[in-house]
């Protein structure tokens, strides 16, 4: 099969002649024109693609933009710019990469009046996010018990595709979890009530209606609470190896040498099914209305329509499921540390630093050309980065800004940052969510064929537990951009301030 060239016209089932889309992976149908705004921003002008209502803006420096020039992610940024009601620009964070519909690392704000919500702008893993705990332990404490701790974490947190918790929730309990989110888990003894103070939206998104979540989604989620899942999800024990802003680090309870635990996961099969269900219904509605989109994955519905309202209610329910999930996993992490170190989690200082979402849409107030507007801000692989003083930042962190947790890859490092004022002006208060992939899973496996990734990590002093050994190649460092470059661009563009860097000691992969 030829995968070169644009393809010749073929007859559609109805008899019409339509061009066959290019199948060449990694290539947009034609290169996207980029204009440099400043060292950290590039514009895709709104006349670059038919139907663009606003410019696209990509946050990148010369290093990060070079590989993007031939990446379909830029075409996806342009496609998002065609959506009705989009305000400002279709935005791409420095970790942007090829997704489906929206790029991963995409941010788009829609007017509540006249705009749309697009499930593809949130992604399938609704409220995929990151939770960070700190401890009073230091690296040598962990190194002396590193194998038992890795085993205890791997045993305590079911991981891998289709991982089950061992407990199947009744519909009534699952619905309660979808209404209450992290609070549901705390009420069942997983974690402490003060965890909620350090969780975005207190881990309980308003407006959740479990009745808008399908029976199949219930079925998929019933035994998945407390499970990690697969792919790029992980639990990582790390150590603070560098502090950039001591006052902010102190406010977050971080200091050089202390051990941390980072958890990355989301709403599991339940969230995926919510997205699938509502995408299908919106796709049908779009077709009925005769609306043509550049990508069907951008299927959307006008805010205020029954389809949009049902999706947002189900999305909130799935987001709360994800918060309950991370709260339970946080509880399992504390229990594993207690068993290995023989001391209560409180004495080990295993406090929650913060828990955030990077796949969700929210109605937020933003200043647009000097006027306060209610906007539906879609973040798909992007993190809120609200600045100091913002009312949605937890009281204890309001003086420093919202914590922004930026996992890197398992062989390098992760970052803790805080939101900066310019993020409100440039990105509707958003920043990067991680390193961002640079290689496909297949390409990574090909590149690392014959390489003992686990052994290499071991040589670096990083102990790994994984459901499948071949997953390690898919998730190895060469598969990701350099998180330091991503963070540097985010900081230099004024979106965040770097606070601390974390180095991995133990990685548990799904």
């Amino acid at each position: 099969m030829s995968r070169k060239g644009p393809g010749r016209p073929i007859r559609s089932p109805a008899g019409g002649t339509t061009p066959e889309p290019t199948l060449e992976p990694g290539r947009p149908s034609r290169p996207i024109r980029l204009e440099q705004i400043d060292p950290y921003r590039w514009r895709i002008p709104r006349d670059e693609r038919r139907g663009m209502r606003v410019d696209g803006i990509v946050f990148a420096d010369e290093r990060l933009i070079a590989p993007l020039r031939t990446d379909p992610a830029l075409e996806q940024v342009a496609n998002v710019a065609t959506l009705p009601g989009i305000v400002g620009a279709s935005l791409a964070m420095p970790d942007v990469h090829w997704g489906y519909g929206f790029p991963v690392g995409g941010v788009a704000a829609m007017q509540v009046d006249g705009g749309v919500v697009s499930p593809g702008g949130i992604g399938f893993d609704i409220n995929c996010g990151v939770r960070l705990l700190r401890s009073a332990l230091v690296a040598s404490d962990v190194r002396s018990r590193v194998e038992p701790l890795a085993d205890a974490l791997f045993a305590a947190i079911p991981s891998g595709v289709g991982a089950r918790s061992g407990q199947r929730l009744a519909r009534r309990d699952l619905d309660e979890a979808m209404r209450k989110g992290a609070r549901w888990a705390v009420e069942r003894g997983s974690g402490w009530s003060r965890d909620l103070d350090r969780t975005e939206e207190r881990g309980e998104m308003a407006g959740a209606i479990p009745a808008d979540v399908s029976g199949r989604a219930h079925e998929r989620g019933a035994d998945q609470l407390g499970t990690l899942g697969s792919g790029n999800h992980f639990v990582e024990v790390g150590v603070v190896d560098r502090v950039f802003e001591p006052s902010a680090a102190t406010a977050l309870g971080l200091e050089a040498g202390l051990v941390t635990v980072m958890i990355h996961c989301g709403s599991r099969g339940l969230g995926h099914q919510v997205c699938t269900d509502h995408l299908a219904s919106m796709d049908a509605a779009v077709a009925r209305a005769g609306i043509v989109l550049p990508d069907r994955q951008l299927a959307c519905a006008p805010l205020g329509s029954p389809e949009a309202s049902a999706y947002l209610a189900a999305m909130a329910a799935a987001a709360n499921f994800a918060w309950a999930n991370r709260q339970l996993i946080g509880g399992a992490v504390r229990a594993a540390f207690e068993r290995v170190f023989g001391a209560p989690a409180e004495r080990l200082g295993l406090e929650l630093v913060y828990d955030l979402s990077h796949n969700v849409a929210r109605i937020e107030q933003h200043d647009v050309a000097g006027r306060q507007m209610a906007l539906c801000v879609h973040r798909k692989g992007a993190t809120r980065a609200f600045p100091p003083g913002h009312p949605d930042v937890p009281a204890e962190y309001r003086a420093i800004g919202q914590p922004v947790l930026i996992p890197g890859d398992m062989g390098r490092c992760s970052y803790v940052a805080v939101g900066a004022p310019q993020a409100m002006e440039l990105t509707f208060g958003s920043s990067c969510h991680g390193a961002g992939r640079s290689l496909s899973r297949h390409a990574a496996v090909r590149l690392l064929r014959g390489v003992d990734v686990g052994g290499q990590l071991g040589a670096q002093g990083i102990v790994v537990r994984a459901e499948r050994r071949d997953l390690l190649a898919e998730e190895a460092s060469p598969a990701y951009k350099d998180v330091e470059a991503v963070v540097e661009v985010s900081a230099n563009a004024g979106l965040i301030r770097s606070v601390a860097r974390l180095r991995p000691l133990i990685v548990v992969k799904g």
């Binding site: 099969m1 073929i10 007859r11 559609s12 089932p13 109805a14 019409g16 339509t18 066959e20 889309p21 199948l23 992976p25 990694g26 990446d71 992610a73 990469h97 090829w98 997704g99 489906y100 519909g101 991963v104 593809g120 399938f124 893993d125 891998g160 595709v161 289709g162 089950r164 199949r216 079925e219 998929r220 697969s230 792919g231 099969g269 995926h272 099914q273 997205c275 699938t276 995408l279 299908a280 796709d283 049908a284 077709a287 009925r288 990508d295 069907r296 994955q297 299927a299 992939r437 640079s438 290689l439 496909s440 899973r441 297949h442 390409a443 459901e467 499948r468």
Partner: protein, 172 residues
């Protein structure tokens, strides 16, 4: 608006195996790379064969299956799916494969598609099929890439010179 009569695809009694692709000429599938996810292309002479071939691609992507799959625990699941067009039907079919495997903790080993009925474009499409499953046992049936959802991104079902072709990208 006039409605075309449905195109009824002939029933395939013996679904071909992946190894037979070369003998089938235009029938076969290919896995496409994607930075974060994964894609597939399937092709076949008719629509029923195309949807079977997509299931074969899905199976290859998600599981390592030896020739000695124990019969114990294997299962079939009959499905009837409707969508407003062929692309929507492909979306539903691929997602059906995802959930059938996930809920039964099993690998999709293949599918037999009894019929694919298509009215005029946008007026409806319907599929009747049986999905074949075998439980993951870590020996004869092992997990591979975990597919979590099908997407509409670049999803297409189109006529080709030699029959039909489906392109799909899957969230992993």
């Amino acid at each position: 608006m006039t409605t075309s009569p449905p195109i009824r695809q002939p029933r395939r009694r013996v679904p071909p195996r992946v190894e037979d692709v070369q003998t089938l000429g235009p029938r076969g599938h290919e896995i496409l790379p994607h930075t974060a996810d994964v894609g597939l292309v399937a092709r076949a002479g008719d629509l029923a064969g195309l949807f079977e071939e997509a299931a074969a691609a899905f199976s290859e992507l998600t599981a390592d299956i030896t020739e000695n799959v124990p019969s114990g625990g294997s299962a079939t699941e009959s499905v009837t799916l409707c969508a407003h067009d062929l692309t929507g039907l492909a979306f539903s079919w691929l997602n059906e494969l995802v959930t059938a495997g996930e809920l039964r903790r099993s690998a999709v080993t293949g599918a037999g598609v009894e019929s694919v009925d298509v009215a005029a474009e946008g007026a409806g499409a319907r599929l009747v099929a049986t999905i074949r499953l075998a439980p993951f046992d870590g020996v004869a049936v092992m997990r591979r890439t975990s597919v979590k959802s099908a997407t509409f991104y670049r999803l297409s079902v189109r006529r080709s010179e030699s029959g039909w072709r489906m392109t799909a990208y899957l969230d992993v």
